[in-house]
Symmetry: C2
Subunit: 677 residues, 2 copies
């Protein structure tokens, strides 16, 4: 019994110290284990890095990039800008050792061991990818006093929980050029993600050059596509960062672009098609009864597959509502002849034929979870996007797939384009308390963040991906018990601005949009407003108003706003604190914010209005007036019934969306009113 108590004590101590460490180190994803030794490794001009390992391409690149970032962050003029050769006489101050080069397969070992003391840093890994993961941890550890930058003395052992930690970017609905992809790959590597899923085709565009079927990029891309050389460049760039690249060719639905180029492959006889300009689920679908369709896909995949060395190949397979199939007599006839009762059966027939084509090309088929039909071979990988919210059992299709014997990855809960809080995504635990056998557990490879691009352009996409994706990266890398939301948010604040270092534009581009909105006038009035507004969530942005097309303006106020609006989070915390213990300190936090809002309409009014800003006038005015009212109330001023009535009416107005944003502090304003009155 004493022994049990001692164990419990140790566990508690460990949790407690872990928790303390999270206050000190802004690491994300949080490592498996970390021990402190109270030493400091000072960054000065004599710092050197050596590499001991074969095939040094990845680690050389990692070290060069490490040295540039270290120098740019610390301002230290480091003498040696590249790794130094191994030498018997002189030891480098940072020594990297690894055994072999990773193959970029799901069996790769990404673990590493890091030891920092006052005169030496050692980084040991089994693979080069493990080594570069460790370099990212080193950079996250960097800290400073007034007079110097240093790495704190720690020992870290680290390894990922899941082998598949991905980000999908949809480049069809809006095209995203090479530089957008590269900077996002850099950001992924900075939080140890390892799969880039490239959604290359959809109704709104076919984004890759085909030499076999050139009409695809010529007629169905508006000249916005990647050349094959660019694809190779990205695959190589990702490989150096230890990131696998999985292409997706979405078939048989989401096929408007393909059919714009080759209408004869469609399910609607005699139809012609045009690149889709709207967002939604559309009817154009490949005809699975035509042999030409398989010839086309086999030729296309045979051409494209070698560009992507990864053994997985995503064929989409989602959201086919089968309207054109139902309307086509020949297809109905085919179903009867082949004993295919439903459209689902027909799609399985199609998928199985695809699976065979891909097998010849040495590729494993990945598809969205609609492909999980009874006859689907177990070699397929099920990409789970539907879950409990879609009316499925606990764990959704992820757990179902694992139990049925499929390898599977999770995106349900990681749909960042829904513009929901990071907290929700962070709390999406893939397995939870579901009981699984070891085999079943091992079939759950990991997950992918999905960035569907209906409402994002190269100007805004970074702000929609980051920083929330960093928290999901932690969910997929770190141990299951790393779940403290407040500590995550505190670390995320640091990780967030550090993303600027690798080129992510999420913070800087807000000013670009606000300057454009205001014709370069003083934007402070708009900035304060944007810090309490969030873009409408879950695809409600264009409800009732003008429907967005791919070429609609995405430089509106809503595009400058972001999820988890800064000042809204601060206000929520302040109001919660105050209602829990209504002391002066907590009140003062509230008053600071209320004062800023109460003054803000004056700043807003100073801006010469344009048609883009005018719709915000009422929002700005009502916010200021409500804040004034709450200020008076907090200062115990006597307020008339009419004041209260007009406050309540303003609050009702403020609950409505304005210009595709919602004011996310309204509920807390009401809560504060109740607490103060």
């Amino acid at each position: 019994m004493t022994r049990l108590l001692a164990i419990l004590y140790l566990i508690t101590l460990n949790c407690f110290s872990q928790s303390n460490l999270m206050e000190t180190y802004n690491l994300m994803p949080w490592p498996k284990s970390i021990q402190e030794n109270n030493q400091r490794f000072i960054i000065d001009e004599n710092l050197t890095v050596s590499i001991d390992g074969k095939n040094q391409k990845r680690v050389q690149h990692g070290v060069t990039s490490f040295l540039r970032r270290l120098s740019n962050r610390s301002g230290v003029f480091i003498n040696e800008g590249f790794a130094v050769p191994l030498s018997n006489n002189q030891q480098a101050s940072i020594q990297i050792t690894y055994k072999k080069s990773a193959e970029l397969i799901i069996q790769d070992d990404e673990s590493y061991q890091l030891d920092i003391n006052s005169n030496k840093v050692t980084l040991v890994a089994n693979t080069d990818v493990g080594a570069i993961r460790g370099l990212e941890t080193l950079l996250q550890l960097l800290t400073n006093t007034n007079s110097e930058y240093y790495l704190p003395g720690v020992s870290i052992s680290d390894a990922p929980r899941f082998v598949w930690r991905g980000l999908m970017i949809d480049v069809s609905r809006h095209f995203h050029p090479i530089d957008v992809i590269k900077r996002n790959l850099d950001a992924m590597a900075s939080v140890k993600m390892n799969v880039f899923h490239w959604h290359l085709t959809d109704d709104q565009g076919f984004r890759i050059e085909s030499k076999t079927y050139p009409k695809l990029h010529e007629l169905a891309s508006d000249r916005l596509y990647y050349t094959q050389e660019q694809i190779k460049d990205i695959v190589e760039y990702a490989s150096i960062l230890g990131i696998r690249v999985i292409p997706e060719f979405d078939v048989p639905g989401h096929a408007t672009a393909i059919l714009t180029a080759y209408p004869e492959l469609g399910s609607k006889p005699g139809a012609t098609y045009k690149i889709e300009r709207y967002a939604g689920v559309f009817d154009p679908t490949l005809d699975p009864t035509k042999e030409d369709v398989y010839v086309f896909l086999e030729n296309l995949f045979t051409e494209i597959a070698p560009l992507f060395p990864d053994s997985y190949f995503h064929i989409g397979g989602d959201e086919n509502e089968g309207k054109h199939w139902d309307a086509n007599e020949h297809i109905q006839q085919f179903k009867k002849e082949h004993n295919l009762a439903t459209n689902h059966d027909l799609q399985t027939y199609f998928n199985i034929r695809l699976e065979k084509i891909l097998k010849k090309l040495d590729k494993k088929l990945v598809g969205w979870d609609e492909i999980m039909t009874p006859n689907m071979p177990k070699t397929a990988i099920i990409h789970s996007w539907r879950g409990e919210h879609e009316g499925l059992a606990k764990g959704g299709t992820l757990i179902e797939a694992a139990k049925k014997g499929y390898n599977t990855i999770l995106s349900n809960g990681f749909y960042i384009d829904r513009m929901e809080s990071v907290v929700k995504h962070y709390q999406t635990e893939p397995i939870g308390d579901v009981q699984l056998t070891e085999d079943e557990r091992n079939r759950i490879l990991g997950g992918e963040v999905t960035m569907w691009s209906e409402l994002v352009t190269p100007l805004t996409i970074d702000s929609r991906i980051w920083p929330r994706t960093a928290a999901i990266a932690e969910r997929l890398w770190s141990q299951k018990d790393i779940t403290d939301v407040d500590k995550m948010l505190k670390r995320l604040e640091v990780i967030n601005y550090r993303l600027e270092e690798v080129g992510i534009t999420h913070i800087r581009n807000k000013g670009v949009i606000l300057r454009n909105l205001s014709n370069n006038q003083d934007i402070s009035g708009l900035e304060i407003l944007s810090n309490v507004c969030e873009p409408l969530k879950i695809y409600s942005r264009n409800e009732g108003g003008t429907e967005y097309k791919t070429y609609s303006p995405f430089t509106l106020f809503a595009d400058a706003c972001n999820v988890d609006a800064n000042d809204a989070l601060k206000f929520k915390k302040a109001v919660t604190n105050y209602t829990e213990s209504p002391n002066e300190a907590h009140k003062s936090d509230i008053i600071t914010l209320l004062e800023a809002w109460s003054k803000n309409h004056k700043a807003f009014q100073k801006i010469d209005k344009s048609p883009k800003i005018a719709p915000l006038e009422s929002l700005s005015f009502n916010l200021s007036e409500s804040a004034k009212f709450l200020l008076k109330l907090s200062q115990k001023e006597k307020l008339s019934k009419n004041d209260i009535k007009s406050f309540k009416s303003r609050i009702e107005t403020l609950k409505q969306p304005f210009a595709d944003v919602e004011l996310v502090i309204v509920n807390d304003m009401e809560k504060l009113f109740e607490a103060l009155k």
Copy 2:
């Protein structure tokens, strides 16, 4: 006599109205002629654009880009996102007509005629390039009321003064990836520039893939180079914007990178070379006496030349001090044998051989003005970089070259890397009052802005190129009499922030550097400081201190500061106004600024210091104290002798550089002191 008076009157009237028009329209470069008609063309969702002309690639691209920018700027959801087909029944609201596709040669016609009235816009040009120049003018005309965006009714006839309006970017001293080049090409097109001069090789790196001599990019680029596919992509991208691309391979000096790969081509027997990490003029030089050198250059140019369709090819030829030639006996012997008295003669021998190689490849040789030696064939183009400041006659080598019969372009006066005021560059008139024959005048093709990259990285390069280059673009496009500095500065303010629209990062990246400096604390204290500081000018940045290497940090306070510091310009104007007429209004402009500075040290002190910020402490403190003193003085407070003494001593301190910046308001502070005391 009456007639002469009438003419004078008309001229005056024209100047006056021209001057008034500059208050209304923020056009840059200013067009040749502009007439108003008081109508308005409203931008609404029904706007359409048609194109009547052959080979529509350029204009189609121009129209698509025009529609995106129009929509993003106005917020209008334009129904048709692309040019509409010509139709007999329905006329588009914006009609573009041109005769032929430009060949991208110096004889191309870039003129256009623009007519805007309330229901129609017509844009007529001889070439497609003229048409896209006109589209940029249209976008610059866009303006708005509270309720709508519109194009004002005007007729504009426009054509350039010079046929060669270039920007050179040095990608050797710091590499600048494809996206940096593309956004700068877009920005160039937005101010009607038409030549991109790509300085591809220098001591610090060989930046282009060579299949014939792969060691060049493999050993002499740190893996930072353009593939040939990327070069083709850029050349095509530029062509669509009506921009010619001229490559530069700098020989026989500036050759350290080439010799790192192929030391046997050097002038120092048995030497080996390493990529240069510092800035400066270095000794490694090709050996012009070796036949192998010409074989190498002929093979290399034969491989590279076809990537660049332009008929001009730049061979550098500058800054060869000939030290390795002097030290080499074999070279001395060769000079004697070939009757080459000086190293200049030897270099001419080299240049003439190059000229012949290039002729075979159908290329005209361009070189920096050192190549202008007596025997140099008149087919060469002289790139003038030395002028009166370098001890030459009025007009420098530009006028000399034109008089000697060479075609010539000007860069003297356009060295923007010297970090001097836009005013100086704007006032660089290429021809001035020098008398030239028509032939001589025609041989002056235009000029080029030069962005040498010793001190710029992809993070900062845009802020060093823009907005000053827009003013130089006007110097080269607009008529000679467009010289009003105040009106240029007023228009430049608008053009400056509009550059964000095409992706230029000069404004947004300042915050990135300041957030990095402050570890993401409130940067307002640093921002105010950065608006009165400028980076040290004319290559003095690293004097006395740590010498910058290519991989030194360029994320320091100096990198966040820029030429023509905003608040310094405001202060200068305010002080000038006040000393000229010391009234309360003028005083109040001064006081606003002084108050901000006097308070700023408090904001600065709130930032937790890092080694990067600490050196600014004294600057910040002395600025605040001096501002406080001047405030008191302006409020007629009694000040002691000691106060005055310590103010004067502070001013002396503030005259010194701090952390590679200078406080550029010191002289105006002194001037104000004299006016107030």
